[in-house]
Symmetry: C2
Subunit: 180 residues, 2 copies
DNA sequence: CCTTGTTGTAATTGACTGATAACAAGCCTG
DNA sequence: CAGGCTTGTTATCAGTCAATTACAACAAGG
């Protein structure tokens, strides 16, 4: 089957990367098959591998991509109002782009792999540092902010937060406390 | 090879379950091979399957096991002093038994699977409820407590917290804020 | 002692999966 | 328009892995 349209390797790589983010968000590192990513991107599986070398490198690219986007969201939010509480309101944006937090979570889970662990630690550290730099928050405040983000992340993974949540009374009770 | 000692199915099942907790903590649901669990438990791989039916059911058993232990730790802590701040000091115990938080984290990650998701939601909800019941904390306080736990969990997965942490200045800065 | 249920293994299988190789078709450039 | 570079596919492999089957050893009770 000849491809419908020919793109440059960079353009196609971007499309595959977007597909990879969606797929990894849904199934994690080990659980996602390169075949599925290829299907989502509309290309053949071997081409996915050729574009990124290995599945691991593709996952690393996905991690970097979502972390870039997370930092971008925080920067935009801080540009409007550089207070930590204002930044907090922008967790909504992160929850809306559900893949961001989910890929990050799967990054944490896959940190047992040294290569992935190095990448995740570096990116998580730079997010922490960015938050402190943008808002001037103390370590305590920044930690509290990050803590709330992590709870949102795991609740998002359990489908208790974000679009179309599974209704659970206790989860709704927790969700309400985020609205401050 | 004939086994060294014969145990009842229940005893052997417990040993396999302990091995499974260790293995799943290290590599997650998809990343852990039943073969590795068998090796850790000192039995053959088919026997692991026969004892638990499927790898999924073994993972569910591991989730239930660590959640039972987490609730037990909280109950013991509350028996000494039923204040939330006192309970917080017992996160150290959770960090010491590193597998507890790690298996839970991998449970969150694997929540995309409906069966696992159901189990994880139920157990996480009952932990939240237990915390509220034991301490009489408000939803806000309980959420804050859980939030801190989730940050500890992911930092533990990144090997930034717990025994033998990878030294990172920013991570140490965060870790210090937990000591209150 | 024998026979029946239980604990356990060895052998195997069938499906899957990441990666490689070989090839094809399109596009630019001289 | 010829030649080479880029984009993309098909075919295939070598390894892995959960699960099944069949069998073996052992213990306990009659």
């Amino acid at each position: 089957m000849t491809p419908k349209v020919r793109l440059t390797a960079k353009e196609r790589g971007d499309e595959v990367l977007r597909a990879a983010v969606r797929a990894f968000a849904a199934s994690g590192y080990e659980g996602t098959k390169t075949d599925e990513i290829a299907r989502l991107a509309g290309v053949s599986q071997p081409y996915v591998i050729r574009l990124f070398g290995t599945k691991q490198q593709l996952f690393l690219a996905a991690i970097r991509s979502v972390c870039d986007r997370i930092e971008e969201i925080f920067r935009e939010a801080a540009a409007e109002s550089p207070e930590l509480s204002a930044l907090g309101r922008n967790y909504e944006r992160l929850l809306a782009e559900r893949e961001l937090l989910l890929v990050l979570l799967h990054g944490f889970s896959a940190s047992g792999d040294p290569v992935i662990g190095d990448c995740v630690r570096e990116r998580f550290g730079s997010i922490y540092t960015l938050i402190r730099d943008l808002t001037g928050a103390t370590p305590e405040q920044a930690r509290e902010f990050l803590s709330a983000g992590m709870l949102m992340t795991v609740m998002s993974a359990m489908q208790l937060l974000g679009p179309d949540p599974i209704p659970m009374p206790w989860a709704a009770e927790i969700a309400k406390t985020f609205d401050n």
